[in-house]
Symmetry: C2
Subunit: 133 residues, 2 copies
């Protein structure tokens, strides 16, 4: 990912209303949510919502698929992870030992995935995974 691309994605997320939309879609999962339901959930005017969906869409963060008269929007996790990789890169290439707080949240996220995958010893593995500072 290039820096201007990253700036574009960040800018798409930089408005509270759009960030709320994106988070809703991340939580909702790959099935997506109808535009109308999104509008209701974040209490937004229809045209405002449409404009904001368009911005998120152009940034590659979400995608829409038509089903009847509804359009379902879903988060693109790959794009999100590209952004996070871009943001973390500098830390790795620079002075990694400084980035521990950042690394710790990454580790916590990773353990959350394992917990989900394995369904066992949730708390213990989360603690064990944490890097000590």
């Amino acid at each position: 990912m290039k820096i201007n691309d990253a700036a574009n994605v960040l800018s798409a997320l930089a408005l509270e209303g759009r960030l709320a939309i994106f988070r809703l879609l991340v939580k909702a999962g790959p099935g997506g949510v109808k535009a109308g339901d999104i509008a209701h959930a974040v209490s937004a005017n229809a045209s405002t919502l449409s404009a904001n969906l368009n911005v998120l869409s152009h940034a590659g963060l979400i995608e829409g698929r038509r089903d009847g008269r509804a359009i379902y929007y879903a988060a693109r996790y790959d794009r999100m992870s590209d952004l996070l990789a871009f943001l973390m890169d500098d830390c790795c290439n620079g002075t990694p030992e400084i980035c521990l707080p950042l690394i710790n949240i990454a580790t916590r996220a990773a353990s959350c995935a394992h917990d989900q995958a394995e369904h066992e010893e949730t708390t213990r593995s989360a603690q064990a995974a944490s890097v000590q500072a």
Copy 2:
């Protein structure tokens, strides 16, 4: 971290020029970089730079410390990790198994910290750390 706070931080990073500044400071480490040197590195006008440093500063992403007539600016890693934690949270609370690409970059980042800390078997541990999809 609240959503409006997150939107604010994202908005501070959402301009290519500011993102370049922030990345420079992340790479530079806790010692920071003189404002003048930043201006030279990103080839920015002095007042433009000052305005942008101010935005990053208000977002809590950097902080300045005066040393003689120079002011050194340094990245605040804790703030950055707060943001990343905020962005990853939804994934954990929603449908974690979907977030694997995202989790993988987190794991890679974590292993990069371990590599730095332990200085051994760099490639093997990075591969082992990766979650299989």
